[in-house]
Symmetry: D2
């Protein structure tokens, strides 16, 4: 068996927590970009399930495309209207015929998209306020061929020369942004349905001050008037501050819907809880990276993770795996301050044998590379050995991609 | 006048040229993602011109959206056919009515898109092989209001809390990838029209070996058969090697269309010179950053630069300005090995007063921060002072955005 | 008050029952053309209701447009799949803003269309097998103006120089075709759900032989195999013959799905019960006239009745009224063998004052024009006097339009 | 050889010229309904040509579908703008693959449609003011099979139980409407380009008075102001009267754009010469019958002639043939006042053997049926014998269909 090319290096840079400025962003589930990501991933999952059931194997597809074109709405306290529907274009491509078996990829895609929208945006009326259209193609013969040939070999081959990247651990600001997002979804919205699904959280740490700026789409039907709107904003602001303060000893400021101008009646009120209803388009791959965050201070991959096929698309598999490996290293290996893992593929090679798997490690004071390198190598090697576990968990919906 | 918050820090990290692995990618003009970027930017430019002519000022718009849905083609030597047209969806939003003046944003967008496609893909038959559709909205009232209020103040106000980032100088690998792209466009294609506009260049530096992997869409009508196809591939490979070697003393390998499999008649042949004809969709903002490259080893912004309004959209202006400032610093200030500039906005603030403008400098040996800091600060300050020059040059089409 | 221009003439032609050849067709509710008609009328009704509620009056709209683009299906006994969704384009135009009130015509249209489809095609999965898209416009200013000015006068003014036509009584063949359609919908399908909603009935009377040719889309999930398919065909054939024979003493032949070729496994099996799933597009106004039939032996109007506004669109109101008047004349006036009523409008005139209302009467033997003319004139005059009753009943959904 | 079932009967009814009211309408080439008809027929012709070239035979297709969704325009004297593009949806179905040969039906359709639009609407800017989209399907397997099997037999078999109808000669009013249309296209518009292509001509004969009501879309760029607009209207009115008077001794009134209201600045001004730019949608088959007219006083077929395949689609072939046969009878047989020809098919029968070919003849005074019947029978028989000439001339574009 071929030995994997794993490289572990020390990194000599200022740890993120000591850099002066740190910026972290998260687009929550109802943000138009996240909606497209979620739809794209739902479709890939539904297709994978259908392929497995009909053909015994996941066939070629990449649904990491698609666009949400915003509608036009007239929100008003107590409940307004959506005047022009949101338009969702499903594109990408998928195998529609295999060995004489038809797989109705287009209708599977529509069903998956509508089901996902229904689950994420319970406030949206799918019978009137949205159009889900589909122009999915079948892909080029070439790609499908490469995919098919996979059946003969033990492991799929990389679809491209590309790379994935991951880091661990989360910084305080990163943890706070993720924590706030989860808190909103799991705790606060169930109590206050006026809090829409479309929340954008921007975390800015300037030295020891963390400022969280939230843009929260409020749902008009659950808001009787301006005073209730302001009341809920205040609640969000207070609770988020509490949540954030539990996660840091730094100073925390929280600002909610700072663009509001009550005098001009300009507030962030929506009918459905998403800005897609009135002006914000969305595209797959333009929002969160696969760890759920946008982190300009960290290395990032430009690849959309959502919607790509989980069999051989490096842009999906390596980003997910690199993130997992980094987390595992931090959890299991003593002395790591920060770790960055990059997996670089070579088109046509089995995916468990990247061109190079590189770990860059920032050590805690007093720790030497020798004491961490073997364990890190071993974790990376095992992760690659077991790479199809990523595929399987993606298909089962156990791995978030945005 | 308020003093700008400019921070210049030393950076203590391994210079890019001494890191073991460096990855640089460029999607040339005919790549589906670049096509959408180019269309988005063309539309923004055409709208800006129309707004200026009709209303004396650039009105609110963001056309940084849109999707190319691939067609289906049957390439063959000597000239094949496109069986299903490429579908281009223009979305985003634009002001369509201002002070009683109609601005026909939809038809302006279609015209700009078709004109751009005609110029970039002369091999594409726009009368039959493409559909350019438009579902552009008008944006939310809020955003338009903020935009309008601009008239009263000296400078536009930031549309968001966001940031832009730029670096200089280009590494060898970066320079080579850009150089190769320019060489193809300016020198090689005019001689060999079989070389399509859709080229993806992946540069991988592993230590002192630079491997350039090119995926070149060949145009079937200019290719009489497989032997000519191979001949042109060889020419591309040889010439690119020559070009690259002039730019580095490192070892250079060039590989063209490595996925080709002559036995299975699987080659990268196209009718129109772009993979959009047969399986590759494209989205705005998923390809090159505004310096024309994808550079995972460098800090990157996830924001699409193309198509955003050039008046107050931080995701456009700050990325372009940060890149220019970094280049200017390297050109004018002695002793800089690498410089990274980040401009962080605060929503509602005048765009010439970022929340913080931060420069991180990696110095050449023997140089101290004191000797560079004042000059860098001064360059950044002047750049911000003069920030509307970015806007003006964008509108005139003098600044590339992808 | 102005006297109405009513003309009653004797007609000297061979009564329909004594002409050698008579052709009568009906496209039942699930036929693609009828589906578009039904959708168009549903939308007009939903808009009228919304206008009444929001503005106290029905505003300008004409939704007598729209297209069903067929999908692709793979029917099979026991239940097949729809591989490519049916695509429904809603077009036409409607007032979307009136006196500062937004009427969300686009989303109202989508909701009405989906609701109608759900009611007519319970076998169609609206969550996956259909796309309902909307590109409805707002109409030209002119037309809207004319419509608005209506508020000042007692009665709406004709939108066009156009005409409507109606006849009575139904011939035997006409009655049979309508009777068969009702029998299928009300009696047979509830017992045999395999009988799809898309039935085309062609009645040909050649002398004293009536041949009914039915194309019945069978629903695959309710059909276990070919023998059951044939069994149901036989049932349909037998029952229809029974029904028809009750309505005539002529010879009756019934043929069901004559194109079937069992040897080549070519039968009329569908997944959803409509041929729109696999090859038959539909358009508003290309199917039944407003009496529910296509009758080439009778004068017909080419105007689509469905979807037109019920306030001032002659193509809708005059066809419905002419048909009612003809029926009323036959019911109330002794001695009429056949009557044809034509109402000709003049653009801009109040709709109760047609340019001419002309009745052509074929009398029963021994009857003279003098004995019928006054009553006919009086019925027509009263019908015109009471013309807004048509409008009201259309809005309430009490008048069929196709 | 089988004898054809030809029936010639005398008809005992009031000749059209002596009926009191006669209504004749024509939608000229630029009317939205005619535009769709023209596009549909262009596509069928282009496909037929491609099939012949690639496969040696015309393959199954029916492109008698499609929709024009109106745009939005802001006409003004001297030249206005189209703000929202006209949207053209091509649908219908066509064979895209035959014996391993790809026929790019979608792109052929787009090219044909754009080319047709360019020729008919030279005033329309196809680069900006229109979107030509395509969702053409491939038809059901069944239909394609029947079509293929045609190769074995001498003549194609009828696609349906359906009928075609034609009459001759044209009445005075019919001749006038057609003559006026030709005069506008051939003589007047070349001199006065302000006269748009979208003209609707309504001819109403009430006794011995013929009123022609024309709705003429004026082209704004060729109209400097209201006085020129009125001047051109007057010219149209005068010239049309002259033309009409040459064709009749009856009283003629001509009214042009009667809806104009100068005080309210409500006139029929357009940017492109068609009302499709600002509010009028169009559908295939809703305008002129295949003789170029809508004639409610005459028997009419509801079938769209344009776009249907010219091989075996009865709705196309029989309408064209019946019209030709009627004209031929009138030209060659003495004593015919009016003739109505109906051709009734039987699905699956060779198209030259209709179920019945029926001629109804209104004789001139003093003429007996015996003296005309044999010649009429012979003309009909020869026409059926030579029915494929219809197909050939349709493909060559020699027969108008609307």
């Amino acid at each position: 068996m071929m030995i994997r090319n794993i490289s572990v290096e020390g990194l000599d840079q200022i740890p993120i927590e000591r850099q002066r400025i740190e910026l972290v962003e998260r687009k929550c589930l109802g943000h138009p970009d996240s909606l497209t990501d979620g739809i794209a991933e739902s479709i890939s999952r539904a297709l994978s399930a259908a392929y497995l059931e009909e053909c015994g194997t996941v066939l070629h597809h990449n649904t990491d495309q698609g666009e949400i074109v915003a509608g036009e709405s007239r929100p008003k306290f107590g409940g307004g209207i959506i005047a022009r529907p949101i338009y969702v274009l499903l594109s990408g491509r998928a195998t529609k015929m295999f060995n004489g078996v038809d797989i109705p990829a287009d209708t599977i895609a529509i069903e998956a998209a509508r089901k996902y929208l229904r689950s994420v945006l319970p406030t949206l009326n799918l019978e009137r306020d949205i159009v889900v259209d589909c122009r999915m193609g079948t892909g080029s013969t070439d790609l499908r061929d490469i995919f098919k040939s996979r059946d003969d070999c033990s492991l799929p081959r990389a679809n491209d020369t590309s790379f994935g990247v991951g880091h661990a651990p989360f910084s305080e600001t990163e943890s706070i942004v993720k924590g706030v997002s989860a808190y909103l979804d799991e705790t606060l919205r169930p109590k206050y349905p006026a809090i829409g699904q479309d929340v954008k959280i921007m975390g800015l740490r300037d030295g020891n001050t963390i400022t969280l700026t939230l843009a929260v789409a409020m749902v008009d039907r659950y808001c009787s008037g301006l005073s209730e709107y302001i009341e809920i904003k205040d609640i969000v602001q207070e609770r988020i501050e509490e949540v954030a303060r539990k996660l840091t000893s730094r100073k925390v400021n929280v600002a909610v819907n700072t663009g509001d101008d009550y005098d001009r009646a300009s507030i962030y009120l929506t009918v459905s809880g998403t800005s897609a209803e009135m002006g914000d388009d969305g595209s797959v791959g333009r929002g969160n990276r696969c760890n759920g965050l946008i982190t300009p201070n960290r290395p990032m991959s430009m690849e959309a993770t959502s919607g790509k096929n989980p069999i051989n698309h490096i842009g999906k598999i390596y980003n997910l795996l690199a993130t997992e490996l980094a987390q595992e290293c931090v959890a299991k290996v003593e002395g790591i301050e920060e770790i960055y893992i990059r997996l670089l593929s070579q088109i046509g090679n089995p995916i468990d044998h990247p061109h190079v798997a590189s770990a860059q490690v920032l050590l805690k004071p007093g720790v030497g590379m020798k004491s961490v390198t073997p364990e890190i190598e071993s974790i990376i090697d095992a992760g690659l050995e077991n790479i199809t576990s990523i595929t399987e968990r993606v298909i089962r919906g156990e791995l978030a991609t945005f």
